[in-house]
Each structure stands twice: as structure tokens, then as C-alpha cells.
Symmetry: C2
Subunit: 318 residues, 2 copies
């Protein structure tokens, strides 16, 4: 039997990355194009096709491909459409799966990038073969993908799994994009960490901190990490607080779907144990006894640069 | 083709109810025995068998039965066992599905009563044919059953769906049985409503209220309802607050699994719109736009006296 391959495409707000992936999760070839260079989505797909065709030919042509998987903002698996994505140029409802299939001649499945990340973990990553887990992406925002019985949870309309927008501090910090107060994303994202830093520095004006030497723009999670590693009290409290919020939220998610693992992914995870330890402590403290010490809390093992392509490609393997 | 029937058994802390159910959800015969009269579970099952055998004969004998469904505390669908149920007499891990099958000669499926309630709604109730919904039972405690893709969510170990224990007010009211703080059950249960009444009456000592004429034991959700209907300010605020907590929690559940409906069941729902209106308002206010005005929030249409037997029986229909 000939080896089969999948195309993985990750449509981000700025860049679209794509590549050819084998069943072991190796990316044989990859490239990227800007996402918003083309006014019409048809031109964007033509561009993709011109770039991918030689890659597909290099692995024996279209007959060796199982399909195309695509992760994209506001992508709906059921309808195959991208719906009103705020950071893409094509407005309204774009039937991208159908357009791709017409151009490439093979089946295309789409979902949002967070769901694709979860599929990638199940197919190639830390949760290979696991049928009950949740991935949480801690980046600019907080994304999530939920796997139950080996399937991604999509809900009645395809929009399930928005755990970053669940409320963990009712009436708490304003999340500017959504207008919600006290959502997980308002705290456990890159922006959230910066806001926590500003809050704590303002709350304790007398407390010396290395963080006071940085401008607001420089107060990234990386800066906070570096200061925390130098023993800075405020920086350590920022991770303690972020871990508390995240841990409490994870406890709630566990009592919903009883996963055997939670995989953390994204920029904030570079903080390692500084984030993991308080998260685990607060997660365990808020669980019913029946769930305690059962759920593995781990970091993704996928390379961040590959994960988006891998996750998208995972949509089309049987 | 001969009409088929299912046995439904609901094992409660005090009473076990059981009956013969047809596919339309009619209970043809039913009876009850005490749950904790028998020291050995085998004697309990013998008692059940002696009561159910004539009922089964009345519908044509065992060959017309599709199986036995049982709802019981701490019942695990995967293993068929009741595990360390605090309010039952049989301690440890009881292989009740196997024992039942040996005695009756037909397949027995078990799950906890909240999951059974959800199965009942899908098979016979307000969510007939719906594949994506959540039931919330607002009784002495808060139970939940989650349906995704037409299947009950059990998780990796069979214990998923403990939404009553999710935290909605971190650091909030102590839930005495679990030691958790700020869980949904600490507020939106019969006990929770009483605690809210006491809190508000203590917080506003100058505020006149009909509720002050009742002893603490008399401060049931029914008393609060009656006072609220007479225009009592404190009583109305109790439902407003309970609805706020419940609505915020429901918003979080919706952003997890994107159900098309949430069914409320149990004693507190007798408060009708007094509870439903604030719940819906706070639920909608905490949803992302993509989920707003899409989720039906309804009361169960199953008779409370029948629901437990119906729900259990729903486990065994294909």
C-alpha cells in the first residue's frame, strides 16, 4: 500500500502556513503566504493551489492525498464555512471547504485553530490515542479544543469549545473585545498577564520590583518570567495569580467532561513550572474528591512552529 | 412485531421506585420498596425481582423486555458498579449491573440519576430527538446530565457531568458536604436558597420582610416563592440572586458544549418565571454574541413523580 499524505493549512490573521504531512506527523514540505493579500478568497485559493501543487506532485500526486485539513478563525466544521472572521479580509460567510474542494479536487475539512490544535495532539502529540482530553492555548487569547470519545466537541452549531470566554471572576476584569467581565481570557492570556502586572504594580506602589524598569509595552509574559526567575516578588505573584485563575477554570472543565489529561500550549507555557505549579495546585484544590489526582496536566510536545499545520492536517485522517 | 418494554429502576437514598415503560414513555405499572431495608445487595435484588416478575409477566414475559435501566447514586455506566455511595447501605464497589443480569436474565445498564434524567428528556421529554442539550436538576442538590451528539457525556472514567460542583464564586459560600467554596450547588439548590434567605435577612436587618415570620426550617424555596408572589422585596431578591448565579453558570456551560437547549428540572423550578427570568437574563448577558438568543431555556415537561423511572428506562432503548 502506498504511503498516504495530508495537506495541513493554518490560516492566521497575518500569515497562512501550509505543508504536506505524513501519518507519523512529519512535515515533508512547508511554506507560507500572507493571509490578507487577496481581496477575493478565490484569488487566495488560487495562490494556495499554485504553491501546493508542486508539493503534492513531490509525494506522488493527488491520488496519494487523503485530503486537506484547514484551521481558520471562525471556521465551522459542519458547514465548511468561515463565518464573519473579524481579522480576515473576506467578510460574511465564505464557503471555503467547497471552494477548496473544487480547486484541488479532494475533500477539505475545516475547523477553528483551537480545535485543530486538539486534533493534532490526538493524532501526533502528547495525547496520541487518548479519547478524553482538553487542549488550552495560552497565547494572545485563550483558545480551547475539547475531545470526548475521540471526537472534537462541536455542539449543535459547530461553535462549542470557547472555554477562554467562560467567566471565572463574575463582575471581574473587563475583556475589551467581548465586553464580558471576568473571563478566563481576561487573565490567562498574554494581554491578561500584562494587565495583572499593571494592577499589582499599581496596587503595591511601595513594593520594589524589577518590572518597574519596563514600559507597559515591554511588560510581556517573557519579561515577567525573566524577572520572576531573578526572584522578583511581584513577578512571582503575577504567575501565582494567573495560575490560580487558570487552575480554578480547569477544575470546572474537568467536572464537566472528566478528561484524563489537559494539554497546555502557547506562549505562556514558556514560563514552565512558574505557571504549571500554581495552576495544578488550584486545579486540584477545586475538584471533587472523585476527580483529584487523576487528570494529567501537561505541556504540548509539538513544536509551536509546526503545531498549526499538524493540527489542521489531523482533521482528514480516518 | 410485538411491542417491547423496558424496566426503569430509580434507586434513591430512601426509596427505590420501579416500573414497566413502553417506548412512548408510558409507565404501565409501578411500585416502590425501601432502599436500605436489606443489609446485602443480593437480598435487595431478590426483593426487586419478586416485585417486578409479575409486572414483567403482565406484558408478555421477559422475551418482550429490551432490558433494565437503573439510575442510582455513584453509579458508573462503564463498569456497571455503584461505587462508595454515601447514602446507600452497601459499601464499597457493588457490581449491580452484573448481579441484576444474573437474577433477571436480561441486560442491565446503570448510570447516576442526573444522567438518567437527561436520557429521559431525550427519549420521552422536552428534548425528544435533540442531540445537544444539558439538563440541570435543581433539588436538594444540583445535578446535571450532558448530551453531546445524542450520547450522555461520561468522560474517561464515567464520572463526567458534575456541573453542580463547578465554581462560580471563587472563594464564595462554603458548600458543607464537599468543602468547596462558591460552587453552583452552594447557591442554586434548596439548601442554597435557604442560605441566601438567611444571608439577606441578616445583611438588611432594617428591611421588613414576610420571611422574618418563619423559622429557619420553614425557609424553604416554597416559602420564599409564596412571599415573593406577595410582593416581598427580600424574597424577590433571593430569586434574582439565585437566577444570577444559575444564569452565569449556564453561560459557561453553553460556551463549553454549545447545546441547543437547557432543561431545568426539580423542586426549585416550581418558582416558574420568578426563577426563569433572572436566569435567562444573566445567562444571555454572559454569552459571546455567537451564542446569544440561540439556546432554549425550558422547564422539563416530565412529571416529577414519573421522571426517575422514565429516565432510568431510557438507558436501554436503542
Amino acid at each position: 500500500m502506498k504511503e498516504k499524505f495530508a495537506v495541513g493549512i493554518d490560516v492566521g490573521g497575518t500569515t497562512t502556513k501550509f505543508g504536506i504531512v505524513n501519518k507519523s506527523g512529519e512535515i515533508l514540505e512547508q511554506a507560507r503566504i500572507p493571509s490578507n493579500e487577496h481581496e477575493y478568497v478565490g484569488d487566495f485559493i488560487d495562490h494556495l493551489h499554485s504553491m501546493l501543487s508542486p508539493m503534492i506532485d513531490n509525494v506522488g500526486g493527488i491520488k496519494n492525498m487523503v485530503g486537506i485539513g484547514m484551521g481558520a478563525p471562525n471556521a465551522n466544521f459542519y458547514s465548511g464555512t468561515i463565518e464573519h472572521a473579524p481579522n480576515l479580509r473576506w467578510k460574511g460567510i465564505i464557503p471555503v471547504a467547497r471552494l477548496m474542494k473544487e480547486k484541488f479536487g479532494i475533500v477539505t475539512s475545516i475547523t477553528n485553530d483551537s480545535n485543530a490544535a486538539a486534533m493534532g495532539e490526538m493524532m501526533y502529540g502528547a495525547c496520541k490515542g487518548n479519547k478524553h482530553f482538553i487542549t488550552i492555548t495560552l497565547g494572545t487569547g485563550v483558545g480551547s479544543g475539547i475531545i470526548i470519545d475521540g471526537k472534537i466537541v462541536l455542539g449543535h452549531d459547530g461553535f462549542a469549545g470557547e472555554l477562554g470566554h467562560t467567566i471565572i471572576r463574575p463582575g471581574g476584569r473587563l475583556h475589551k473585545t467581548t465586553g464580558l467581565r471576568g473571563s478566563l481570557e481576561a487573565y490567562a492570556s498574554a494581554t491578561g498577564v500584562r494587565d495583572t502586572a499593571i494592577e499589582l504594580l499599581t496596587k503595591y506602589p511601595e513594593q520594589p520590583s524589577l518590572l518597574r524598569d519596563y514600559s507597559i509595552n515591554e511588560l510581556t509574559s517573557e519579561t515577567v518570567y525573566n524577572c520572576a526567575m531573578q526572584g522578583d516578588t511581584v513577578a512571582n505573584e503575577i504567575f501565582e495569580f494567573t495560575g490560580q485563575i487558570l487552575g480554578e477554570s480547569l477544575a470546572n472543565f474537568i467536572m464537566f467532561s472528566s478528561p484524563s489529561a489537559i494539554v497546555l500550549f502557547g506562549g505562556l507555557t514558556k514560563a514552565g513550572n512558574l505557571l504549571l505549579n500554581p495552576t495544578r495546585r488550584h486545579m486540584e484544590a477545586n475538584l471533587l474528591p472523585i476527580f483529584k489526582d487523576k487528570v494529567k496536566l501537561i505541556f504540548s510536545q509539538l513544536k509551536e512552529s509546526d503545531a498549526a499545520i499538524l493540527g489542521a492536517s489531523a482533521l482528514v485522517w480516518e
